[in-house]
Symmetry: D2
Subunit: 403 residues, 4 copies
C-alpha cells in the first residue's frame, strides 16, 4: 500500500554505509538474507508498526559519480563481503535507486572531501541559501514523484572537519540571515542538508560526527516545523566496546590508569580521516566516552590510521591498564575485527525504522531514546551502553502498551 512507503534519503548514498543500506534493504525485501544485526528486529519490538525492508524507497545525494551497483561490487572486491548473487538479483532495484540519487554539495565540507568530488557542481560562488534550495528541490521532487508523504534524511557521508561555533549557529534567525548574505562559510555542508530537510518538516538523522543539526539554531528550526532529529556519530565498533566495558570497570571499582585504542582501516572514510583536521572530529567523540562513564580521566590514546589494504575491515586494538585490589596492576586487551559498513548499515536502517515509528506515534524533536546508537548522543549525557539501551527498551515497552 502506498501509505506504507517510507522515503529514505541518504546523504553520501554511494559510500560504504549508503550502498550497503541499499543492497541490504533490497536483499532483505527479496528474502535473500535475514535480519541479523538489526536491533529493531529484536523481540522487544514485536508487534510495533515498523516499516519492512520493502517499504523503503531510496534516494539520496552524492558527490561521486557512480551507481549503487558499482559501489557494492567495488566494496565486494575490496573487502570480501556480500555474495555476488545478491547483487545480480537486486540489479533492477539498485538501478532504480541509483537514478534517484542527485548531485550533492561540497560547500563547507573542507578540502579533503572536496578533492573526492567528481559529481557535485561548483557551488563556491553561490550563497548557502541557494545551495539549500537546490538540495531541497531534490527532496521535493523525490517526495512528489514517489508520492511520499514524508522523507527521512540520513547523513552517512564522510566526516567533515570540526566547524567552529559561531553566533550564526546560536539562533535560527541569525543563521537564516547569514545563509542568504554571508560570504564566509556560515555552516558546513552537513548543516546545509539538515536545513533543507528540517525546514520541510522532514526527519534528519546524523550518523556521522559532522555538525549536521547539532547546534541551537537547527534545534530551533526543528521545533518550528515539528521535525524529528537524532544524532550523532553511529556507535559501531571500538567505541561500542568502550561503552560496554567501561561500566564494568566502574561498577567493580577497578581504577583504569590508561585506555589506549588504535584503529586501522582502509575504506574511503579512511582517506578523509587521513586529513588530521577531519580526523580530529572523530577522535574527540571516541575519546570522551570513557571519561564520561568512569567519572575521571585516565591516560588515553586514540588513533585512527588509514591502511589501504584493510579495506572496510576496521581493526581496533585496545589496551586497558587498570589497578585492582592492593594496587595490583592488571590488563585487558581486545582486538575487534569488524567490517565497518556492515556494522553501520543495519543501525542506519534501525534508525530509519524507529524514526518512522516515532512519527506514527506523534513524536517531535530530539529522539533521546535512540542514544544507544550514537557515540555522541544528542540530549543524553549517559554513555553507558546498557543504560542507553534501557532507554530504548523502556520506549519499546511503552510503545507496545499504548498501541
Amino acid at each position: 500500500m502506498a501509505q506504507n512507503r517510507v522515503g529514505l534519503w541518504l546523504i553520501g548514498a554511494f559510500g560504504g554505509v549508503g550502498s550497503t543500506v541499499a543492497l541490504g534493504l533490497c536483499a532483505m525485501a527479496r528474502g535473500l538474507v535475514g535480519e541479523t544485526g538489526l536491533v529493531s528486529s529484536l523481540p522487544l519490538f514485536e508487534g510495533l508498526p515498523l516499516p519492512a525492508a520493502g517499504d523503503f524507497v531510496i534516494g539520496g545525494h552524492e558527490i561521486r559519480k557512480t551507481t549503487f551497483e558499482e559501489a557494492v561490487e567495488e566494496f565486494r572486491a575490496a573487502s570480501g563481503v556480500f555474495e555476488r548473487d545478491w547483487i545480480t538479483a537486486c540489479r533492477a532495484e539498485l538501478d532504480e535507486a541509483s537514478r534517484r540519487v542527485r548531485p550533492g554539495t561540497t560547500l563547507g565540507a573542507g578540502p579533503t572531501i572536496q578533492k573526492l568530488s567528481t559529481w557535485a557542481p561548483d557551488d563556491s560562488g553561490l550563497s548557502p541559501r541557494a545551495v539549500i534550495d537546490r538540495l531541497g528541490a531534490d527532496l521535493d521532487a523525490f517526495a512528489s514523484s514517489e508520492k511520499l508523504e514524508h522523507v527521512i534524511v540520513l547523513n552517512v557521508s564522510s566526516t567533515e572537519p570540526p566547524f567552529p561555533a559561531g553566533p550564526a549557529l546560536e539562533h535560527y534567525s541569525a543563521l537564516e540571515q547569514a545563509l542568504k548574505t554571508s560570504k564566509d562559510p556560515v555552516a558546513p555542508a552537513s548543516t546545509l542538508y539538515a536545513v533543507a530537510a528540517l525546514e520541510r518538516g522532514y526527519t534528519y538523522i546524523n550518523f556521522t560526527p559532522s555538525l549536521g543539526a547539532s547546534c541551537p539554531a537547527l534545534a530551533e528550526l526543528a521545533e518550528s516545523t515539528n521535525a524529528l532529529v537524532a544524532g550523532k556519530d553511529g556507535k559501531t565498533g571500538e567505541t561500542l566496546l568502550k561503552t560496554v566495558l567501561a561500566p564494568m570497570f566502574a561498577q567493580r571499582n577497578l581504577q583504569v590508569m590508561s585506555w589506549v585504542g588504535h584503529n586501522i582501516f582502509g575504506n574511503r572514510d579512511g582517506i578523509v580521516l587521513e586529513d588530521p583536521v577531519n580526523k580530529s572530529s572523530k577522535v574527540v567523540t571516541k575519546d570522551r566516552v570513557v571519561t564520561g562513564i568512569l567519572g575521571y580521566k585516565p591516560a588515553t590514546v586514540v588513533s585512527i590510521e588509514y591502511v589501504p589494504d584493510m579495506g572496510d575491515w576496521k581493526t581496533a586494538w585496545d589496551h586497558i591498564h587498570f589497578t585492582g585490589f592492593l594496587n595490583c596492576k592488571m590488563t585487558l586487551q581486545f582486538t575487534w575485527q569488524g567490517c565497518d559498513s556492515l556494522l553501520a548499515a543495519p543501525l542506519a536502517i534501525d534508525l530509519a525504522r524507529l524514526a518512522h515509528l516515532e512519527r506514527l506515534r506523534g513524536g517531535r524533536g530530539l529522539m533521546r531514546h535512540l542514544a544507544s546508537f550514537f557515540k555522541s548522543p544528542e540530549g543524553v549525557e549517559e554513555h553507558d551502553y546498557f543504560k542507553q539501551f534501557d532507554l530504548l527498551a523502556d520506549y519499546a515497552r511503552k510503545a507496545r502498551e499504548t498501541r
Copy 2:
C-alpha cells in the same frame, strides 16, 4: 565497640583468596592501601552501616599446615604482587589470625584435594555428623573466645569434584539421618562446613563451584535457623567479561556462532583443576552463562590449563566469532591478564560486608541481590552482569531510603 566486630571464618584460609583477604583487611585497617576493587566502597553504598576493614575478626579452617604470613610471602614471590612492607607491618595481626585457623576436613573432598592435605585429621572412619560437630565446635570456640555475636562463613577453598544429586540432599530430615549413619559419602566437605554454619544460624557464602549449601536440604536448614546464604562461584575474570560482552551481542542482534575461551594459570587451584573431575565443576559454570544470555547455544570451548610459571596470573584468551548484517563474519578477541586472588579477595570482602548489612536489616535466606558476584547465582536466572548489578543497586538505594 565490641558490637562492631564481625567474625569472618574462611574455609581454605591459607589459600590465595583467603590469605589475600587477611592481608588486605589488615593493610586497609592500617591505612596502607586504599579500597580500589571493593564494590561495596562505591558511592552507591555511602552512608550504609557496612563494617570497616578493622571490624573483621578472621579465623578459618584449612587442610595445609602453614600461616598467613608464609602464605602471602610465598604468593608475593611467585606472582610479584604485594609490597613486602605491608606484610612486615601486618605481621602481628596475621600471626593472631593464623592462630585462629583450625584443621579442616577432606571427607568427601575427592582424592586430588586429599593429596594436598598436610594438616586435616584422618576423618575417614568417622560419620559425617561427627566431622560436622568437630567443625562446629571450632566455630563455637571462635565466637566465644572472640565474643562474637555472629559469624560469616566464607568458602574460598579449592574446587571439589561435582557431587551427584541424591535423595539425601533433597530433604533435611533425610540428610540429617544419613549424616549420622551412612557409610557412603552423603555430601561433599563443602556441604559439611555449610551444615555446621547454618545449623548455628551463621551466614554461609560459597565463593567456589563446590556444592556447599546449594541443595534443597540445606535451603530447608537455612530457613529453619533464619540463616543468610549466598553463592556460588565468584565471578572474577573471564566469566565476568562473558557476562558483560554477551549482552552487547544480544542487544545488537549479532549472532554469536562460537565463543572459545582458553584460560591458563598456575596457582594451587590450578593443581586441583588439573584433575579433570574437579575441573568439570568449573567448566560447567563458566560455559552456561553465554547461552543463558544469548538465548541460544553457540559452539563453545572452555579450557582451563595449569601452567605453573603463570602463578596466580590467570590469563584468558577469548575468541568470539559472530555474524553481522548480510551474513558478514566478524571477530572479537580479548586477552585478560588478571591476578586471580587479587580479583577475588575484594569481592569476598564485599560479600562479607553486604551479608553483615543484610543481617542488620533483618534479612534471611538467599541473598539474591548479590547475584552479580557469582558465576552461578543461586535463585537468579539472569546472567547479564549489568542486570545483576541493577539488583544490587536497587537494593542499596532501598537500604539507604529505609535507614
Copy 3:
C-alpha cells in the same frame, strides 16, 4: 612438450588442500593469479628447470564421492576464499581432473575417517596386498593413459590415528609377507598408498602426520626402487611460527618457561581431529619442535579444537612466558589467522616441483633439503626454520651451479 608433463597424484584429492592445489594450478596456468605463496617461485630458484603450473597432470584417490568443482565451491562458500570467476574459467580442466580421481581405501585408516567415506569400496575382507594392487593399478592406468613417464604421489588426506610400531614395519621382507597374509592390520592406509607408489619407483611425499613411508621397511623399499621420498606433516601456520620464534629466544638466551598454543578451526580435517586418537598424531609433532630448538622442555600446552563456523580459517593463539635478565618475567602473545588449505596448497605444489627437479638431477631416497616444509622432517634433526631454509637455499645454489 609431452616430456614436460608431470603426473601429480593426490591422496585425498577432493579435500581442502587437494582441491586448492587443483584449482590453483589451473588458475595459475590460465594466468588468473600470480605465484604468491610459492617458495619455489623465489628468485633463489630462477633458471632451474622447475615444472610450470600447466605442466602438471592431476589425478588422485579419494574416499568421498564429489568433484573438484563441488569441493572448491563448497570451500568458497564456507570460508570466503577464491573468486567464483576462477572456478568458472577453470571448469573444463577441473572436470577432466575430477574424472581422473579414483576411489581410495579406508583400510587401516581408523573409524573416524571410515565414517567420512562415501566412495571407498569395502576393503575389510581383503588382504592389504590386494588393496595395494588395486591402488597401484590406478597409478598405472593414470601413467599409461596420460603418457606419463613418472608420477609424484602426494598425501594430503586426513590425519590417521597413530599406528603402533611393530616388527612388520622394521623390514620390507617382513612387511611384504604380512601384507599378503596377516589378518590384523599391519599398516595404516597411508602406508598402503606409499607402498603402491614406491614399488613403482614413484615419488612419495607425505604432507600429513600419518605414518606413510616413515618406517624402516618403506625406506628399504624406496632404496630398492630408487624412489624419492619426503615428509612429513606440512608446516603451514602455528608450528611454522614456533620454529621461527623459538630460535630468537634461544639466541637471546631468554628462558622460555611455558609455551601455550591453542588452535581452533572448522574444516573437514577438524572433524577427524575431533577424535582424540587422530588428534594425538598431530599434537605430538606440533609440540616437539619447541623443545628441539630450545634444548630444554618448557611447560607446553597444545590444543586443537574443532569449531565448525571457523571453516578453513585456522586461528591460533600462542602465549609464550619467558624469563629475561634478573629473573624478569615477560610475555609474547601472537594470534595467527590463516586459511589452512591456502597455506598448505602452495607448499604442496612446491614439493612437487622440487621433487621433479631432484629427479631430473638424478637424486634418490630421502630429500633432506625439503626439511623447512615439514613439522617432522624425515632425516633431519634441525627444527630451526631458518637453518632448515638454509639447507634449501644451499641446494638451490648448488643446483644452479651444476646446470
Copy 4:
C-alpha cells in the same frame, strides 16, 4: 688481577638501562642472579676470555642528580622488577659506582632533554671543544684513579633529535676546526662524548638512535686512534621481532601488504620521545627494517606513545596483513610485553664483553659482527636477525679456533 679490570663508562648512567647494568653486574658478581638474557653467555662463547661480571668497573656521565641506588629503587617501585634484597646486598658497590659518575653535558641534546637536566653544568657559552675536554678529563681521571688500561664508553642516554648532516661531519679536520670555533652547534651531545672517547683510543658503543659516532668524521677519528666502534640503537623488543618475522614472510613468498606497529610505554625515555622531534629519530630506524628485509615497501605505521602508568613495560601490538596463495588475505598479530631496560641491559653488557674480547684479539674500527644487537647496524646492510646472528656465530667460532 688488575689486568682483568674493565672500565665501563655509561653515558646516561642513572637511566633505566644504565642503572640496570650497574645493579645487574653487581648482583651477578655476588651470585644473586644467573646469566639469563646474556647472549655472550651462550655455549657459543665458551672458553673465550670474556670479562666476568665482577671484572667491570663502572663510571659514567649523567645529567640528573641522583644515585644508582635511588634509580633502581625508583625503577623497582614503578615497574615491579628487581628484588629489594638485591639492592640491599649491592648497596656498597652501587655507592662506589655512583661516586664515579660525573655531570655530563646537554650541549646540542635538544630542549626536551635539556629540561630533564638537574646536574649538567650550563655549557651554552662554551665551545664544543671545551666541553669535550671536560668530558675527556673525567674519562682520564676514571682510568687513572681506577688504574684502567682501557675504557669502554657506552651510550645509554635518551634519544636526541635527528641532527642534520653538514660538512663538518664529513671530515674530521673540518669537525676539529668547527668544534673550536663554531658558534652554531656543530654536533649533538652524543657526538661530543664520542669524540672524547675516540680521541683517547677508547671503545665507543652507541646503544641509542642518536648520532654518536655515526658520521664520516668520527669514523676517520676512530681509524686514526685504532679505536673500536659499534652501533647503533639496541634491538630489544618490537624491532627484534620484526627482524625475526619478516624473513619468514620473505622466504615463504607471502606478500606483506601492511605492517602496523603500535608501542606504548611510560619510562623516562618515553617523556623524551613525547617530543615528536626526538621521536622521529626512533621511528625511522624502527620502520626501515621491514622494507630492508622484504625488498619492497608495504604500508607501514609505527607509533610510540608515552603512557605513564606503563612504566618500563614496553607493550607493542603489531598487525601484519599479508596475501598468500590465490590472493587470500591473512593476518598475524602479536603483543609483546617486555620490560625495556631489562631487555636492553644484558645486551649492553654483552656489547661491552664482546668489545673487550675484540680488543684482546687486536681488532680495530667498526665491529660489524655485532650487527644482531642493533636496529641500525653500522656497516651492515643485512636486517634479517638470523643472518646477523650468523655473523656473530662465525666470529665466535673463529675466535675459538684461533685461541
